[in-house]
């Protein structure tokens, strides 16, 4: 495992893989050389049987990092404190070095939207998120990273840009960034901005982890499906990010048409190789 640290002070774990159910048995039986797995806590909370058994076996041998999908950091609904405490207990149980979730809302008016809905880029939204990040940090007691999401619509850009919105939240809440490189590529295309300029206008020193994923074109939209290989332009932007931040913990995400574990490992190695190349050229 890469023992270096990211600029944000977290371990640079190298390239990892998302832990997905179709691979559980193979991982347990073959102990593949995977640096770390990202794990979605909600798939395991309050669950026993096969899920708990596999988690127990895999956590004994691998570094697991929890990536949540249900915190709904931008919501105006009060937190379910019991749920946050269960997330904390889960992170403790797998010894997750940090915890992340998405900069969006997934619930409002106590209704689950089951998707990552973008927030308005407004001061109100910032104040709300900052306050809630502090609550999450208090409960989780480990570094907390927010992930930039894809947005197909801009709820409000009358007050500030996406980059200003993200930057202000990260700095006022004093939390880290899970930089989804593919989402930058998608958003830059759909909302017509320069992805490099975007990178240079957000606090990259707060990047603690990265996501890479494939997307699909549908009509004039690019859908963040996590069901295709990483695009060339995403790889190019990934290199640009590594040039700026150095070693990190990137992960190639798949959630649809999940490939074989072998292929996921090859993609992780591709990310690792590119990261090592850029880091080596930075050092020389």
């Amino acid at each position: 495992m890469d023992q270096r640290k990211t600029n944000y002070g977290l371990p640079a774990l190298g390239a990892g893989i998302g832990l997905r159910r179709p691979h559980f048995d193979e991982i347990i039986e073959t102990n593949p050389p995977v640096r770390w797995f990202e794990i979605i806590p909600e798939n395991f909370l309050n669950r026993g049987g096969y899920m708990a058994d596999c988690l127990r076996k895999i956590s004994e041998k691998y570094t697991l990092v929890a990536h949540g999908i249900s915190v709904s950091i931008g919501s105006t609904d009060p937190f379910d404190m019991g749920h946050l405490k269960r997330l904390r207990a889960f992170c403790d149980s797998i010894n997750s070095p940090w915890f992340s979730d998405h900069l969006c809302f997934t619930m409002v008016d106590h209704v689950n939207l089951n998707d990552l809905i973008p927030l308005p880029f407004t001061r109100d939204a910032i104040n709300n998120v900052v306050e809630r990040v502090k609550i999450v940090q208090d409960i989780m007691e480990r570094p907390f990273l927010l992930e930039n999401v894809t947005y197909y619509m801009t709820v409000s850009k009358s007050q500030m840009s996406e980059a200003e919105f993200i930057t202000t939240i990260l700095e006022e809440a004093d939390c880290g960034l899970l930089l989804d490189v593919s989402n930058v590529v998608l958003n830059a295309k759909m909302h017509e901005y320069d992805p490099i300029a975007f990178l240079d206008s957000i606090p990259l020193d707060r990047v603690g982890q990265m996501h890479l994923a494939g997307f699909e074109e549908k009509d004039d939209l690019l859908l963040d499906t996590h069901g295709k290989p990483v695009s060339d332009e995403t790889w190019d932007l990934f290199r640009a990010v590594i040039e700026r931040v150095g070693p990190s913990s990137p992960l190639v995400e798949w959630d649809v048409a999940i490939p074989t574990l072998d292929r996921l490992m090859r993609e992780a190695e591709m990310a690792q190789t590119k990261m090592d190349e850029v880091c080596a050229s930075r050092a020389s």
Partner: protein, 308 residues
């Protein structure tokens, strides 16, 4: 709170209503009427969102729910398509079951991100609002229950008991066997289905299609448990005496085998009781079968109060 009003309006436009169409001015006017609580600037922001972009989220949200429901209810969805006499003309079986999922949302919004709750919403929707489907095949409610329960059992939290050591049972004396303590884990589900939905499910799994004829009403006593070795949820048919024995047990509480045997004997017919060796063999078979599929677990180290 202003932010809450904005997020609430976005939720409404994604989940509950069609996004207003037309020019920006027309959309502005429609939004003004629909959301009088929003400030002018907030209405202006929402009006600039192209309806297609809002609809992307509508599609993503309900497609996601549809996939979850198809995963929980694969056989039920196959039956629903079978039951529709002219699926192409029936809006309920419109594009990829999308309309069904939206109807379930209108019936009861998905409050928390729990697959179990979403599955329950579909079960309640069908039983309360689609009796016409149930009229076409009376086993539909039982099938929905069967598939929902199976998911619940698969994911249920673990209990404080161990699998029974079945090979060792044959070496025990009768007294030793009767003194053993077993428990029925809380996640075990006992059912008396109105139709033999287990046959439908089994056929679908083997052939990836439904049998030509869906079965008529026929009481099916069974239980769903978690196999102690594979950890898969599985259904097991139960004889009347076996069902009565399991129904007597409070979940997770230890019972001696002797106390189970008493219930089993009482629930057996006079003819069965007249042949004691055969009845004992029948009980022993029930005990080992229940242990093999995890309906009964070894409770010797249980912390719960003892029964029997």
């Amino acid at each position: 709170m202003t932010l809450n009003n904005v997020l609430s309006a976005v939720r409404t436009l994604i989940l509950d209503e069609e996004a207003p169409t037309g020019s920006i001015d027309e959309r502005h006017a429609a939004l003004r009427l629909r959301f009088p609580e929003l400030a002018d600037a907030e209405i202006a922001d929402l009006a600039t969102i192209p309806p297609r972009r809002l609809n992307v989220y509508t599609d993503l949200v309900f497609a996601g729910e549809r996939e979850l429901l198809r995963w929980v209810y694969p056989v039920t969805f196959a039956v629903l398509h079978r039951l529709s006499p002219a699926a192409d003309d029936d809006p309920w079986f419109g594009e990829a079951d999308f309309d069904l999922v939206r109807a379930i949302h209108r019936f009861r919004a998905w409050k928390i991100g729990s697959t179990r709750m979403l599955a329950q919403n579909m079960a309640d929707f069908v039983s309360q609002h689609r009796r016409d489907w149930v009229d076409r095949w009376g086993g539909l409610i039982a099938l929905i229950d069967c598939e929902r329960v199976e998911t619940d059992v698969f994911y249920a939290p673990d209990v404080d008991h161990q699998p029974m050591d079945l090979p060792s049972l044959a070496d025990l004396s009768v007294d030793e066997l009767m003194a053993l303590e077993v428990a029925q884990p809380s996640f075990v589900a006992l059912r008396s289905f109105s139709h033999d939905v287990l046959t439908v499910q089994g056929y679908w799994r083997e052939h990836e299609k439904l049998p030509d004829d869906l079965p008529p009403a026929s009481r099916t006593d069974c239980c769903c448990s978690r196999n102690p070795h594979t950890l898969d949820a599985q259904w097991t048919r139960l004889p009347p005496a076996g069902l009565a024995t399991l129904q007597m047990m409070e979940p997770d509480r230890p019972y001696t085998v002797e106390s189970l045997a008493e219930v089993y004997v009482d629930a057996s017919s006079d003819a069965e009781r007249s042949d004691e060796p055969a009845l004992f063999a029948s009980f022993f078979d029930f005990l080992t079968s229940a242990g093999a599929v995890g309906v009964l677990l070894d409770a010797r180290n249980s912390r719960a109060d003892r029964h029997g």
